[in-house]
């Protein structure tokens, strides 16, 4: 009895899986391609770590519909970007724009790199000054030879 019940439940669960709507097929592949290219560069605001192209959130689907509409109206990529930014802010763009508030963001890695190289050079210079090349005295050379000999015998 239990098994039959389990089977029935499973069948029901499968039923709901099948009942899901098929995703609407692209009417116009060119429009769809451009829409995906644009929406891949945008963040879905509902699930923030997903792109607008990948997200299954309701809002993302609406926004993709909106983008399709804008593409069909013949809007340029820049205009479409502006459409999104004017509503949701710069946060929707995965590639931050170069504006005064993002200068540090864009320049930061290079500033750090230059600072690191400068620190390295300064350190190396200081070290080479600390370890001066001094010619071996005759006594030192004798000791070194003796030590090497000793090592060779072992």
């Amino acid at each position: 009895m239990k098994r039959i019940l389990a089977l029935l439940l499973l069948a029901l669960a499968c039923g709901t899986l099948w009942a899901k709507d098929a995703a609407p097929l692209a009417e116009d592949p060119a429009v769809e391609k451009r829409m995906i290219a644009i929406s891949e560069e945008m963040r879905c605001l509902v699930c923030q770590n997903e792109s607008l192209a990948a997200s299954q959130a309701d809002l993302a689907q609406d926004l993709r519909r909106e983008l399709r509409g804008l593409i069909k109206e013949g809007k340029s990529d820049e205009e479409i970007k502006q459409f999104m930014v004017s509503r949701y802010g710069d946060f929707v763009l995965y590639r931050p724009r170069l504006i005064p508030t993002t200068w540090l963001l864009w320049a930061g890695p290079f500033v750090l790199l230059i600072a690191g190289v400068a620190a390295l050079i300064a350190y190396l210079r200081r070290r080479s000054r600390a370890v001066q090349d001094a010619p071996l005295s005759a006594e030192d050379a004798k000791r070194a030879a003796a030590l090497l000999e000793e090592g060779g015998e072992q």
Partner: protein
Amino acid sequence: MKAKFLIPLALFFVLVGFLAVGLNRDPREVPSPLVGKPAPMFRVPELAEPGKTFSPEDMKGQVWLLNVWASWCVSCREEHPLLVEFSRQQAAPLIGLDYKDKREDGMSVLARAGNPYGVVAFDGDGRVGIDYGVYGVPETYIIDKAGVIRYKQIGPITTEALQKKILPLIEELKKS
């Protein structure tokens, strides 16, 4: 010479400071670019009477609130009693925007929990919501006499937000 060893420690504390601030911020709150800009225009049918329409134009000259809600939104239910109380105080007209909802569902919520709204506009396909940059209902906009959005509350209105932010701002905007 000794101070040199304190540099990494200082850097560590700076880093901890940044992380502490970052962790205490709500990543869901994305600052709206619409604050300080004119409220986007629209004209949509009302929820209860599809024959009548609502547009922000109708509210020119008044300080008003636009509350975006839906019957399927759980946080809206949480917020609802506060909205009912707010509408009793009559600080400012409260307009609802039923977002991506079914008419019957929206109306039955209002019938059950009370209707705090002066007018409820109906945005069935979510187009108005997109123009207002809605991404997580409930969201509430305070719009001034000139039709400029002055504040956006993302997520449910809390008693604290109402007392500290919303009501004082309404008073201030009413005076100007």
